[in-house]
Symmetry: C2
Subunit: 506 residues, 2 copies
């Protein structure tokens, strides 16, 4: 028995095993390809590399759809090889970002729950080929995903052909972790039966007719590990403010000691905030999130967290090995779902989620920019933040009050791009403090945000802007000709103008 | 038997009948009051007037919550009497608007599905007293609403005391039209069982313990009639473009001849667009909307529409009488629901709604401003547009391409306020044409919008802005120092600067 035979349990499929190059040859110029991969976890690894290689010899441009960002520098490699004509719904790679901002790659930045909904109704070009990383193919041809589900299930179901990458480095024990549920057709859809983070409502594999599996590629390359940083003073202060606020909510009887299911966005700050629950009196917590990071497992190990539902596992080097080796210890507390379900507005609203996402900047009225530097240059994409923020019980955005060593304030007169409007933002937290915006009108929001969240070096500058704007009147006072002037100045000089002079280094 | 005895069927409650002044006396300075009323339909009429009267003699400021806008100039009267300290979640009155923009009334502009969700979880100040217009009180004390449900059910259930206004001018035949369903508590909520516009899942009255009904006021004042205008050339062209687009979708097999359940926002343009379906080949249509306007009944009478679910009936003078007299003909095709359910993200996504809402302005990338003139002055509020746009199958925004006799373009370089980001906008329509933005990146969106939706007199101006912005690069190219300059100039001179000189009247 070869190394992969136990992984390809449908023996009739074993003759489809081929090289990455042979499999990639099925992908032709102009095709739309749906690949597995969500926040650097569980992406197809060999076929995209073979594609990039081929693109050196022949014209090859595709539309690439994934769950979210890819690991192993694949987005970089594909962008450099100029394989990507179009890319959706999310990315987080500096090389691809450069190509997007140069207008070389058309990037469609979408709410992560919506891509497959649009594909299913033929509102996006159809997926010609799906490329899905798997730990195994079952006897019936079912595809068992690895460390993420993302959009893989719908890609495989909707595509003409499926290429499966069996990754031998992903432990077979991952099987059983996934819960693949596909919503029924509209307008006759039934309720999505997820009523708690623990609800198992689907199958442990992606059901596709075996004849659709056109090629199987055997790989061994590991997932990239997470690039998040350890908590620092600033992120610990953010976590502290949030813990204190939530304690207040418990005291007021609005929340119990177990809070409500938690969601945390990708990245260092959200991870640090979740980490902060270690030092809190809350217990029997649950997560209903998209990406599960180190903090999820820290909370499991500390006995704080009872259950976590997500769409991917994105862990640091150390954590990755410890979790995958001890998967049996965690498996009964974990579910990985399609991102359509992990982020589904129906479920998010039903469960009453506490959503914690990261802002790039926010303004004095509570509008949040999650994506565009100076209103023009894409960072990563909106991701799932909109799916969660709009429908959550509490929509919380976190960021440090300063960027670029203090030259930039994360709180500005008017955000240069809006991803989340004031209607979708309940709580803002920086290391300075927390603003509770619930039930406040814009003028009240401005006072609360400027007092509580702004760094001391920019507070007077923002207050001065607000006071002059207020004289002009309006529900949301602004001086339109100055509203974006902080960004304009930042673009010209690298520094925002509202800073208190004595705080500027000589 | 007095005129109202058949309406107050719980005989023990008949001794609670009192004057509006006596009932209003229960409302004290500083209280939070929840009143019925949604888009000028079914508002409490006598108690608010008595409140305004009292405010002339004594200090009296309240927080007023409603479903949406009130009729009978009540928002104006209350604003002029300075009764309103705070107002949420929507209004549409010029007098109140003035007070809001002057900062005299704190207005909290909310997604209409969210207000009672926040009240129920104690995230807004509790409702002290609910004032609800009704056609009847049942034997068990159930309150039967009139021409709207709005937030009345949750207000009555959550309030300490309830004042019921029995309106004898509202026909008793309205009983049976309503479907009152209140979602269960989170985080243990069950799916909301609405699976088609026709689903009846609740009770035909608002269940409250009879002892909570503190006063009953008998009134006879009619609802205000709708202020919408008849379709004109521009709105007919908008309807024509939309019909043509939807026909294309049917031809491509994406939609059937009955389309999917339709939602249309309040106002002249949305009503005209619905009216346009009269001349379309579509049939067996259904509506799942918030406000049902004249067009709903035109479509019923033409045999085009099979069923309509909404939260209110807001009709013109003629239509109002004809519908209320012939209610028996329509009743089996109509449901009025709480706005939490008519607008619920869970149901909107499940049914796959085609959502048609009105934009104040939109920008070359498809961001929509629904609320703020020149980024500062509130018009009405976001209403239900966000509930529908985010979760719909197709999110369509309509507006005429010009305002102020051509001095203002409804398409601008950057909107001065964002209510709906590019992520939530699929289709834009003006009388010039239609832009299908699905699957397009921002640079592609700009070309499509400028080519298809912009009035000829501003097209060159926008294209020139876009071309210069594109030279600077970025995923969403902008020239930040000019992005709002069209609005700045409009504020100064009354005219936007991008207009082709020969189109400016001498």
């Amino acid at each position: 028995m070869t190394a992969y035979e136990s992984r390809v349990r449908n023996s009739a499929l074993r003759n489809r095993v081929s090289s990455a190059e042979e499999a990639a040859a099925m992908i032709r110029d102009g095709m739309t390809v749906g690949m597995s991969g969500f926040t650097r976890a569980g992406e197809a690894k060999a076929v995209p590399l073979a594609l990039a290689e081929r693109a050196r010899a022949e014209p090859l441009k595709i539309t690439l759809l994934t769950g979210a960002s890819l690991g192993n520098d694949l987005d970089k490699t594909l962008a450099e090889a100029r394989v990507l004509a179009r890319r959706m719904p999310f990315q987080a790679d500096p090389g691809l970002r450069r190509a997007i901002n140069a207008g070389e790659v058309m990037f469609i930045d979408q709410h992560l729950s919506e891509t497959v909904e649009m594909l299913r109704t033929d509102q996006l070009p159809p997926v010609d080929i799906a490329v899905v990383e798997a730990v195994a193919i079952t006897e019936s041809g079912g595809i068992v995903p690895t460390t993420s589900v993302g959009n893989s299930a719908s890609f495989a179901i909707l595509a003409q052909k499926v290429i499966v990458e069996i990754n031998l480095s992903q432990p077979a024990a991952l099987e059983g972790l996934h819960d693949i549920y596909i919503p029924t057709h509209r307008p006759t859809r039934l309720p999505i039966p997820v009523v708690t983070p623990e609800s198992r409502v689907g199958m442990p594999f992606i059901p596709v007719p075996p004849e659709k599996i056109a090629a199987i590629v055997i790989t061994e390359k590991k997932d990239s590990t997470s690039t998040i940083h350890d908590p620092d003073d600033g992120t610990r202060q953010i976590a502290g403010h949030l813990n204190e606020f939530l304690l207040g909510e418990v005291r007021k009887g609005r929340l119990g000691q177990s809070l409500q299911p938690l969601q945390a966005g990708i990245g260092t700050i959200a991870n640090a905030v979740m980490h902060g629950f270690l030092d809190s009196p809350f217990h029997d917590l649950k997560m209903y999130s998209e990406v599960l990071q180190d903090s999820t497992f820290d909370l499991f190990d500390a006995g704080k967290l009872n259950f976590a539902s997500g769409s991917s596992l994105t862990l640091s080097e150390n954590r990755y090995h410890r979790v995958l080796e001890r998967l049996g210890d965690y498996k009964h507390k974990l579910i990985l779902r399609p991102q359509e379900i992990s982020n589904h507005p129906e479920v998010v609203r039903r469960l009453g989620i506490i959503a914690i996402n990261t802002a790039l900047e926010f303004d004095i009225y509570g509008n949040v920019n999650s994506t565009h530097v100076a209103g023009t240059r894409m960072m990563n994409g909106i991701g799932g933040s909109g799916d969660f923020a709009r429908n959550s019980y509490l929509s919380i955005f976190v960021t440090k009050s300063l960027a670029k060593g203090g030259d930039v304030s994360s709180v500005v007169p008017m955000v240069s791009h809006v991803d989340h409007s004031e209607h979708d933002v309940d709580i803002l937290v920086t290391e300075v403090g927390l603003a509770d915006l619930r039930g406040l009108a814009p003028r009240e929001r401005a006072h609360t945000i400027i007092s509580n969240c702004v760094h001391n070096s920019y507070r007077d500058g923002l207050l001065e802007y607000y006071r002059r704007a207020e004289l002009r009147g309006g529900h949301t006072p602004h001086i339109l000709e100055e509203a974006l002037s902080w960004h304009v100045e930042m673009e010209k000089t690298g520094r925002m103008p509202g800073r208190k002079p004595e705080t500027i280094p000589a």
